[in-house]
Symmetry: C2
Subunit: 265 residues, 2 copies
């Protein structure tokens, strides 16, 4: 059932390998240059509130596409993509509890389900690397460190909770370039939300992230913080809706859009 990861060079090839069941792993590094996205699926009633939450909090929850109720297909991010089969692995939630982690969700699909595709920082990290900046956690081969802050998101209906941020350390001149580069990508979290004073975000120990892995911040570096796509997932888990489906961590939807297409001019 294995598939050669290096052969999955485009979003369409990744999705095909997911659909056929050949590929069920993490998508980081697959289809270089193609934008990946977070997935959240909710019944229509909760979906309305969740959409409002995302629209009120565009930095952590940049919406790339929202499907019509009951339609499992995408029309903007990819052609002929079926969200029921085209991700490597899903998580199924009932009242905030993880109940299954299947590789396709065809039998779970309902006529009132709405899918949200949310921008992912892989896109801006590719742009940082293309600009010759080094991204510490990528150099280390670990997950980006993420922290729950004391900054509340704007709430909407049942959805509320703190902003979650990711952190990448940079020397000052590189931090300035990182602001300029990621600011061109508002659809994938955009410019940082903070740099320099973690305690202003309620973060008291950078070496103890709430998610992901710690990285060193050298004495000549600034910790730079971006709004993180884990925010909507954390908010969803806190709201405990009756039913929800998300992608499994690291097992993203890989689109037909190029990372470059997400840059503003």
């Amino acid at each position: 059932m294995g598939v050669d990861r290096t052969s999955l060079k485009t979003g369409a090839l990744v999705r095909q390998a997911c659909r056929s069941g050949e590929f069920t792993g993490q998508t980081s590094g697959l289809a270089p240059g193609f934008a990946q996205a977070n997935l959240v699926i909710l019944p229509q009633a909760e979906a309305r509130q969740f959409q409002e939450f995302c629209e009120k909090n565009p930095k952590p929850c940049p919406l790339l596409e929202v499907t019509k109720p009951g339609d499992p297909c995408l029309h903007q991010l990819a052609e002929a993509a079926d969200l029921r089969t085209d991700l490597p692995r899903y998580r199924v939630w009932q009242r905030g509890e993880l109940v299954d982690e299947p590789t396709e969700i065809t039998s779970l699909w309902q006529e009132d389900l709405v899918a949200f595709l949310i921008g992912c920082s892989f896109t801006f990290e590719a742009a940082l690397i293309e600009a010759d900046l080094s991204v510490r956690h990528i150099d280390q081969g670990t997950n980006v460190p993420m922290y729950r802050t004391t900054i509340p998101c704007e709430s909407a209906g049942m959805f509320s909770g703190p902003l979650v941020v990711s952190m990448r350390p940079f020397k000052p001149a590189d931090a300035i370039r990182a602001v300029q580069i990621t600011g061109r990508f508002p659809a994938v979290h955009g410019a940082p939300v903070h740099l320099g004073f973690p305690e202003q975000l309620g973060i008291h120990d950078l070496s103890a992230p709430d998610y992901g892995d710690a990285v060193a911040v050298e004495s000549d570096e600034l910790p730079v913080f971006w709004a993180c796509g884990v925010t909507p997932q954390a908010v969803l888990m806190q709201a405990k809706p009756d039913f929800a489906i998300t992608h499994s961590p690291g097992c993203m939807f890989v689109s037909d859009l190029k990372d470059k297409d997400l840059a503003s001019l």
Copy 2:
């Protein structure tokens, strides 16, 4: 001889008042929305080296227009502007010594003189204020604090010396916006060159600027540093060319260009 400053609403009106001798003061705050520029005039031999210096150091020395040898008129920054009369006040230098501070330089004009118009931070400060950021030295009604750094410019012929920077303190989220806003204005110094660690620039006491006036940096603020148009003036004074003319401090050339015209897309 007085003129009502508030009547000088455009670059053309300022230049006309300078030309008639009615206005000989500082230009800060005049003709809101019109870009102002630093002036350096040199004989052709030194001018070639100075142009190379500016081209090698575009952040401190962003060239807006360079005149043809002997031509005292501008063709890009303003229509029908005569650099011999259209600034409020000039400084005349011989071998690095200030020898005169006249209000027009008609009798000093020579067939081999070349004028350099260099972008000025007034333009990006207007953009910061328009974005509702407060700029400390403007709020205080003082000059921006400026510091000689230990960062050398790229030298060219007789011209060399350290980068001079201006400093404006901001809270982190505002510092990020200031990077994004000023990054859109590469013709007027562009994005900051540094933020956060003055000692990395060889600045050991922010309260003792080399030029301008000190401002407070609060404990929840980052000092943000931009390449400064005083750099080419300091380099010029250090090179001690036989003959040079500059604008008198604060008495800038006011152009027909709008600040907005200097924004990149």
